[in-house]
Every structure is written in structure tokens, then in C-alpha cells.
Symmetry: C2
């Protein structure tokens, strides 16, 4: 292991997404990169979440989420929803209630409206396996953001262990 782990792991391609969660009157949204498809039929998406994330409790209670695809020009939104903050992060954007009740980010390129199927352990994160119940393209002209365009926005270089 001569190279820095942060650099090597950038070779795994990820997009950048805002994941919206809701349970009763509570809702929240956060930036995530670790999202992928996992099954064709039923169509499943899976994402990995830090269980310390405030949204995780809302997700577990509500059992629903929206996965909203960011455009490569939406770096500010990615950064905004990448931090936890005391005020309501969601007020700066326009949202619409999905079929499941999850908040859809209307400025995203496409969204997936999901019901949580089940969870699986994954080290310092949890895998959330989601059944897609609705989905649509909102802006067919854009190009999805790639995580490796975001530099060290998420400070991941400080989180990786020093070596394997």
C-alpha cells in the first residue's frame, strides 16, 4: 500500500445524491454518494448510511425515502446537505411529496421514490436496501454529478484509516 487510500477509492465510481426521509411531521435530507442498483426485478437500490446521521432515525421510523440525482452543476446543494445544522436545511429548496410521502427534490435530474425493504451491517455504516415504487426524470438535459468531482468536500481523507 504505497498510495493514499482516499485516492485509490476514488476509482470506484459514485454519483452524488440528496436522500430525503420522512416520518410523520419529521423530515430531513442529506447528501450521499454510496448508492447503487442491486436488483432488476424487483427494482432495488441500496445505499450506505452513517448510523450517527440524524436522518437515520427518521428513516428507520418512516421506512421511506427519496433518492434524488444531482446535476454536475449542483455542487452547492451537495455541500449544503452534506452538513448537519441546527436550522431546517430543507427550506432553501422546493420539495414535493412522493407517493410514499418522502420529499422529492424538484431541482434534481431524476428521483426514485422508495420503501425500505431491509438493512444490512456494513462496518461503520448501514446498508439500506430499498424497493423503488416510483421514479421519474425531472430534467433530461443535465449530466449527473460524479463523486470524484467533489474533491475533499466530505473530508473523507480524514476518515479513512491510515492503512489497510
Amino acid at each position: 500500500m504505497s498510495e493514499n487510500l482516499t485516492e485509490i477509492f476514488k476509482y470506484i465510481m459514485h454519483g452524488v445524491y440528496i436522500i430525503g426521509v420522512a416520518s410523520g411531521d419529521q423530515k430531513n435530507a442529506f447528501t450521499a454518494a454510496w448508492v447503487m442498483q442491486a436488483s432488476f426485478d424487483p427494482p432495488l437500490l441500496v445505499f450506505s448510511i452513517n448510523p450517527k446521521n440524524r436522518s437515520f432515525n427518521i428513516l428507520k421510523q418512516g421506512g421511506i425515502c427519496s433518492i434524488n440525482v444531482l446535476d454536475c452543476e449542483q455542487m452547492e446543494l451537495a455541500e449544503h446537505f452534506g452538513h448537519s445544522c441546527d436550522t431546517d436545511k430543507m427550506t432553501i429548496c422546493k420539495w414535493q411529496k412522493a407517493k410514499t410521502g418522502a420529499p422529492i427534490l424538484m431541482d434534481s435530474l431524476a428521483y426514485f421514490d422508495c420503501e425500505v425493504s431491509h438493512y444490512a451491517d456494513a462496518g461503520d455504516h448501514q446498508l439500506v436496501i430499498c424497493r423503488v415504487v416510483d421514479a421519474a426524470i425531472l430534467d433530461g438535459q443535465g449530466s449527473p454529478m460524479c463523486y470524484n468531482m467533489t474533491g475533499d468536500m466530505d473530508k473523507s481523507s480524514e476518515i479513512f484509516p491510515e492503512k489497510l
Copy 2:
């Protein structure tokens, strides 16, 4: 759901990888797109595999794999390892044994040498959660292939259900 599911799911960003597996004298390799990071510490990767894939049995027996990142110019390799065939698919490439014993594709941009940690159900696929025990960049000049560059190479448009 007005749009075609294949088109909508292309908004989820994936790379393209050759996953190498080995158990005793048996080895195989196959093309995969559904790969992502799942944890920082320990560093985990997760991929989704069709359990009908011949490599799945070898993976379960051996408990090791290499995840090799393809360059955007390596479409022919992606296609070659996307099919099962009667002859040994692996002879056309140069491989090297990783620390775990998994075969590393020496023509890839970077590789991750992994031990399987555990599995999780995911519809018509299985999630494989892998601990990365070694990794290196082999070619720092290339750009990883994106799955959405591959068109309908994997005939996924025939596999998705007609609607959600």
C-alpha cells in the same frame, strides 16, 4: 411512470469492473457495474451479483475476490467478461495473484483485493460485502469507464420489469 425504467436507472452512476474470483484450482472473472463503497473503517466495498452467475459458487467457496476498475477505453474487455462461455475466458488477459489469492487484472486502472465479509439478500441478486485488504493504482493516467457509456451491452432493457 411514463419513462422507460432502463433510462431512469441510468441516472444512478456506476463504474464498470472485472471481478475476479478463485477457490483452489478454480478461477473465473466477470463484468459488474453494481459496485460501491460501504464503509470507511474498516474499508468495505459491496457489489451485487446474480446468484446464477458461475462465479458465485467459486466466490462462496473461496471467500475472496479482486475488484478491477476498467478504463473508459476497455469496452471490449467489459463485453468479453460479460458473457459466460465454455472456454476459459481468462486466457486473453494477464493476471497476477493478489495477497488473498484472487486474480488481479494487470490491465486495469486500479484493483481492490478483498475478503468476503458477509452476504445480504437483494431481490434477484445477492449483496457481497467485502473487506479490502490490499489495493493499488496500476495506471494513473486513465479514466474509469462509466456504466452509462455501455448502451445496452448487458441487455438490461430486457431484464427490467415493464413497470414498477
